[in-house]
Symmetry: C2
Subunit: 386 residues, 2 copies
């Protein structure tokens, strides 16, 4: 267990009708001009937009709309939002949507109050923003856990890079599992797989020796898997949706990362795949994880064995250590198929193999959860994923 | 899973040398006059007092000392601290100690800024304090998790009531597992049992149906038990002490309570036993838990069965539901003996049976984790504990 500093500055309101119950009191704390940020407009057809507008109007707010935030939010969109926030001098940003809307707004909130270009600040000067417009998030689609922290994944189209950027923490987040009922079911499952991916990328992080955070992580992984299965059985199961929404939060509120160095190598590969193909995040991860893990499991054998037994209930009887570890990875792959997620890029519509080399060449290589990859290995992994 | 609101306003600095690393920056945020609060003076013999004084002096602070906070802090002591804080107009309280010091200071911090008597405010007016002197906690003995929340257990000697009072959250807490090396080993174990008790009192709370919070709780309980065993094997095991320190935090930072109504009936009984006998908290709980659970398990059979299997690894083969549940409670009792903790009040020096009736008559009866007790049942439980 490594030393750590831990803070959780976002207040969570969870449950049916949480926006109506809690948003008015939160809005009373902030100024008059509120930027209402959302995505492609699905909140207009499912009634959430009207609900928010009523609450904002009842709170006496002037609403500035910032819409059209795309699934893989771009840096250009961040700049558009920041410019609007500055021009209108907004007091507060209310982000209503899934991880993309929340991610975009976390960076908009920071970019709006500084003259510096945040991309340059973080990636050239290696500094981080310290100030931001106040922000609240209403989660309509869970999985990313974006509302739980200050990190965001942003695609810089000019640079062909999709990567983590740091911005603002939300002051509060409203999680109403009912809102997820309006999300396409395929996206609910792919979001839930993102949760499982976050948990795995943390679980296999250093130190490899297991301790409390890993034991809690196993509970979160088992719960995520069990509730994806329940939801496949009955997509209307609101209890399962509640569990998955809180799994999503737990995987990213920092509790699982306590005393650990997380290692998001699968995410790094998927991010560059996304930068080149604009593919769905959770589906890309579903393809990458088992292939990546078969490449590295020997270097993290004890942890992969533990994963097999504790998460996938693999029987160890008559199996060698390698066989136990590989049975765990196979169980993960079987589950991916069971959940209707792809196991090869071609299954998700990526049919142009020539994209793999530039993805491999631009992927951020992490310290390695148990083994640091070479660029050649990343290319091999991508070819196997194809 | 019930709806919930969750906030975690305390920043945690965890690890070896955390005070030297992080206290200066935290002290820089507060005013000049700091009240250094501690207990019976053990921090003077183990060097922690000198370390704190050096850090405070280097930070240019004027130190007002508030010492002699007793193991079961009294309301009179709270008033003494509040009066001192007011008289000296302190800017900040630094509580250095275990749960008693932290508990006392959380209420001192609130009492110092109000004219109202906090006891009257909370128990007559049913209101809670909203303002407080800023507070930081340096944890030297873990188990209570007191540094994680705003609740405190205070003994009102005049009223013969030991009960939960609400005060201030610490802005930050420093948890250095090395500090626990100076605590008498018996107290380390009794503190760790308090952690297990917090987890159990939450686990058996409503709703009885298990979900993510319970699954995480099982991980915390298993980890607490395993690390108490490691520490008995080797009291110098700093890794085990680190785990227990974080178990203590996790049991009281609210994560296990998410979506649940906790039910601290064992604590309520122990509190009144403490009010009448000033007994050790963890040891009192060790006696009460198995006796209480044998009284109520039939009403929470599914959960007690789950507890037996998931926490104590009880084999279900050939056992009836009742036998599985009872085997779990027996495993808990065996563990209590293994940890050198008492299973009867007489083993902890409470030899005067006539105290049991007034304890039963004054115990706060909770809603019941699975069954609400009558006062007669509490008296029966206490007699069985004797």
């Amino acid at each position: 267990m490594n030393d750590f500093t831990y803070a959780y500055p976002t207040k969570i309101y969870f449950g049916k009708g949480a926006a109506a119950k809690h948003l008015p009191a939160e809005l009373a704390k902030v100024g008059k001009k509120v930027m209402l940020a959302y995505g492609g407009g699905s909140i207009k057809s499912n009634g959430i937009y009207d609900e928010m507008m009523t609450i904002l109007k009842d709170a006496g707010k002037t609403v500035i709309e910032f819409s059209g935030i795309m699934p893989n939010p771009t840096y250009a969109k961040v700049q558009e939002g920041a410019e609007l926030a500055r021009k209108e001098n907004v007091d507060f940003i209310l982000a209503v949507g899934g991880g993309s809307v929340s991610d975009c707004c976390k960076i908009v909130a920071s970019q709006a109050v500084t003259e510096e270009d945040i991309w340059e600040l973080e990636f050239t000067k290696h500094e981080f923003p310290t100030d931001a417009v106040k922000l609240g998030v209403v989660v309509t689609a869970s999985g990313t856990g974006s509302e739980q922290n200050a990190g965001a994944v942003i695609t810089n189209e000019d640079k062909k890079i999709k990567t983590g950027v740091f911005g603002a923490h939300a002051d509060f987040a409203i999680l109403d599992p009912q809102y997820t009922m309006s999300v396409p079911f395929k996206q609910v499952i792919s979001g839930a797989f993102d949760t499982l991916s976050h948990a795995m990328e943390t679980y296999f992080g250093k130190p490899q020796e297991s301790f409390l955070s890993d034991e809690i992580n196993e509970a979160v992984m088992r719960n995520t898997i069990a509730n994806i299965r329940k939801l496949i059985e009955n997509p209307d199961d609101l209890e399962a949706r509640s569990e998955l929404m809180w799994d999503s939060a737990m995987a990213e509120n920092g509790i699982l990362k306590i005393g650990k160095i997380t290692d998001f190598q699968a995410h790094q590969i998927e991010h560059q795949l996304g930068a080149y193909t604009n593919c769905n995040h959770g589906r890309g991860l579903a393809v990458i994880h088992p292939v990546l893990y078969r490449h590295i499991y020997k270097e993290g054998l004890e942890k992969f064995k533990r994963f097999a037994v504790a998460v996938w209930n693999v029987s160890t009887a008559g199996k060698s250590d390698d066989e136990i570890a590989l049975a765990g990875i196979s169980a993960l792959e079987d589950f991916i198929k069971e959940a209707g997620l792809p196991t090869r890029f071609r299954d998700m519509g990526i049919t142009y193999e020539d994209v793999l080399k530039p993805v491999a060449d631009s992927t951020n290589i992490t310290a390695g959860c148990c083994k640091q990859l070479t660029r050649e290995e990343i290319f091999e992994i991508l070819q196997e994923c194809f």
